[in-house]
Amino acid sequence: MATTTVTTPAGATSVELTDDGFFVDPSIWTEEMVPELAAREGIDPVTDGHWQVIRFMRKEYLEKGTGPSVRALGKTSGVNVKELYQLFPKGPAKIAARIAGIPKPKGCV
């Protein structure tokens, strides 16, 4: 567990992260945090494609309690698997979940 500070135009927020970098409390996440969280993952600027995936992850998590796997993302987010890896080369579901402030998606495929 580690604590980090995310700075947005609205001010600084102290955020607790798990050892592998996911939000402990997804409810403190705001969209304003996305540019800084994305930059920490090496994503800068955040494009429309990134936003589409990040918002989709967030929505799925809020509805189902877990974010989708890469396969599910490719089938349902409107962004295909190839494009997902272009947007998030270090793992689309994992990196987008970190940026969307949700836990690591479960599931093997």
Binding site: V70, R71, A72, G74, G91, A93, C108, V109
Partner: protein, 158 residues
């Protein structure tokens, strides 16, 4: 003080078996490696080549003979239709878990950016050619090429 082990950055996964249960684990591990952001290459050798053979890939079967994990007597497992039945059941289970059929899975794995390679020695032994295989096949390579490509990563043999 605990030292965090260095994360795995790269894996080379070898698939050497041509049964359904021999092929899927390697595919799942390759897809999972890419999902974790690792570099990944898949190598198909010996009967594992069936998994990337255009005509054979849709007909992979579960082995019901010589497979103690099936928990049925070998003589029963050898009855006509047993392998087809077990294969049908496993494919159904896979579908329920949203694990795609082998062909679709390989397309997805290629889309994740993983490399797909065939072993030259076996390709020659079985008298096969590049166009016998799926279009996602990157190349047919020697064992020496394989080790060069695997340098700096972990090798998993299945």
């Amino acid at each position: 003080m605990t030292v965090t082990p260095a994360p795995i950055e790269k894996v080379s996964i070898i698939i050497s078996k041509g049964s359904l249960e021999g092929v899927y684990p390697g595919l799942i591990m390759a897809n999972g490696a890419r999902a974790e952001g690792m570099e990944c290459n898949l190598f198909f050798t010996f009967f594992g080549l069936d998994a990337i053979h255009q005509k054979r890939m849709e007909h992979l079967k579960v082995a019901t003979v010589g497979n103690p994990g099936m928990h049925i007597p070998t003589l029963i497992g050898g009855l006509p239709g047993m392998s087809a039945l077990a294969t049908h059941m496993m494919n159904k289970k896979m579908e329920e878990l949203d694990i795609p059929p082998v062909g679709e899975f390989l397309e997805m794995i290629a889309d994740t950016g993983a490399g797909i390679y065939a072993c030259k020695a076996t390709v020659d032994m079985f008298h096969l050619e590049k166009n016998d295989f799926i279009p996602q096949l990157n190349d047919i390579i020697t064992v020496g090429d394989f080790y060069e490509m695997a340098a700096g990563g972990q090798i998993i043999f299945t």
